[in-house]
């Protein structure tokens, strides 16, 4: 058997390193933001399961496509009168 590469004791990991793991390839649909319509209510931010809504200075500026799985929750929770997010089919 070849030498095992050294691993941290008992399988310890540095916290938060899943940030480096890509789950964007799971996506079948892609959220698209209409910045002109967005009112920065940030409901999409609080309800996103993948911590993908990028907020800068209190403004919704886009999506982290490394992690976005295309679930469409952001589109669904975007207030009906605003509808700044829509889902489009991911190009293969």
């Amino acid at each position: 058997m070849k030498e095992c590469k050294p691993l941290a004791l008992g399988g310890d990991l540095p916290g938060g390193c899943a940030d480096d793991y890509e789950t964007g390839s799971w996506r079948k649909f892609l959220p698209v933001l209409d910045r002109d319509k967005c009112i920065d209510c940030l409901i999409c931010w609080v309800q996103c399961p993948d911590s993908c809504i990028i907020v800068e200075d209190g403004k919704m500026v886009g999506f982290n496509f490394e992690h976005c799985k295309g679930c469409g929750i952001c589109d669904e929770v975007c207030p009906p009168k605003v509808k700044a997010i829509r889902m489009i089919e991911e190009e293969s």
């Binding site: 899943a18 609080v46 799985k69 929750i73």
Partner: protein, 312 residues
């Protein structure tokens, strides 16, 4: 209480890149709770979807110190961590100096209502200073949608399948929030991530209290509920609007209903949107069961209203 802008400006403590399903209901609960204190958080999680999918070697989604040991012992594990903290703090032996740390244990309904119930009850009784968060999606989702004592009556699961003779899970669900409150803990509450203000406020309150506190949070599961991932937020909204999952809290023994829907949504209107109840919409027998469920939901809701503002 912080606004969403303020919350968004705080560091994200549960990163993307975890392997929970698209549209999973759990992460919004975790993300919000981890942002509900200015103190540092150390967390543990019972074996289950959240634990497995957030810690696949060598990737961890937790930016707070976090550990998992087993399924039935999240409350016992955090008891040990929290006791170690108290002892080391007294002796000035904490790594990185004396910092205020809050302890949080997460578990699904399987790890909380069922297999982890004894450890939870023990830790509550001993009075450890920690918050226990149950994300209740009403079945053992991690192992493939088996019934739990939190599963809704007549719902279809893989161990209470809707069969020709027995149409789903026979029993009514365990009322864990009341059971926890009966431990006379300083704070126990039910919440829904759709009502994020309410959840955030409850988490802030619980994390500020010195002693054992408990949050039971409804969590949508597209896989187990046979629903669409994009609708997860809507489903935990309907759970509240139907009064199936009332928002209430018991603080120092006083019960308070936090939200009373103006027009209670009929339970059948919500169940109809979920594949786990589709067998109830096929015939008269199913219709009769839906009537019974509605009666029970109404009775439970009325009981809560009767107790609103009362010292239990």
């Amino acid at each position: 209480m912080a606004t969403l802008k303020e919350l968004a400006a705080k560091e994200e403590l549960f990163t993307g890149g975890h392997r929970l399903c698209a549209g999973c209901g759990i992460p919004p609960i975790v993300r919000l709770i981890l942002k509900s204190t200015d103190a540092r958080i150390v967390a543990t999680t019972a074996t289950g979807c959240l634990e497995v999918a957030s810690s696949i070697y060598p990737y961890s989604a937790w930016k707070v110190p976090w550990m998992h040991s087993a399924f039935e012992n999240a409350a016992a594990t955090i008891s040990g961590v929290q006791t170690a903290y108290e002892v080391l703090k007294k002796q000035d032996r904490l790594p990185g100096g004396d910092k205020e740390i809050k302890f949080v244990a997460f578990g699904g309904d399987g790890g909380t209502y069922d297999i982890g119930f004894q450890a939870l009850s023990g830790a509550l009784e001993r009075g450890h200073n920690f918050l226990y968060v149950c994300y209740d999606n009403g079945a053992y989702m991690n192992t493939g949608i088996q019934r739990s004592s939190a599963s809704p009556q007549w719902g279809n699961t893989t161990t209470s399948p809707a069969g020709a003779v027995i149409p789903g899970k026979v029993q009514w669900r365990k009322d864990l929030t009341r059971i926890v409150a009966a431990h006379n803990v300083p704070y126990a509450a039910q919440a829904s991530p759709h009502n994020w203000r309410d959840l955030h406020k409850k988490a802030e309150k619980a994390l500020a209290i010195n002693g054992p506190t408990f949050l039971n949070v409804v969590s949508a599961c597209p896989l187990g509920w046979y629903t669409k991932g994009q609708d997860s937020d809507a489903h935990v909204k309907y759970a509240v609007e139907t009064c199936y999952w009332p928002l209430y809290e018991i603080e120092e023994g006083v019960l308070k209903v936090n939200y009373k829907p103006k027009n209670k949504m009929p339970i059948a209107d919500w169940f109809k949107m979920q594949g786990r109840f589709k067998h109830l919409f096929k015939d008269d027998e199913g219709a009769a069961k839906l009537v019974q469920i509605q009666e029970r939901v109404d009775m439970e809701w009325q009981r809560l209203l009767d107790l609103d503002g009362m010292r239990l």
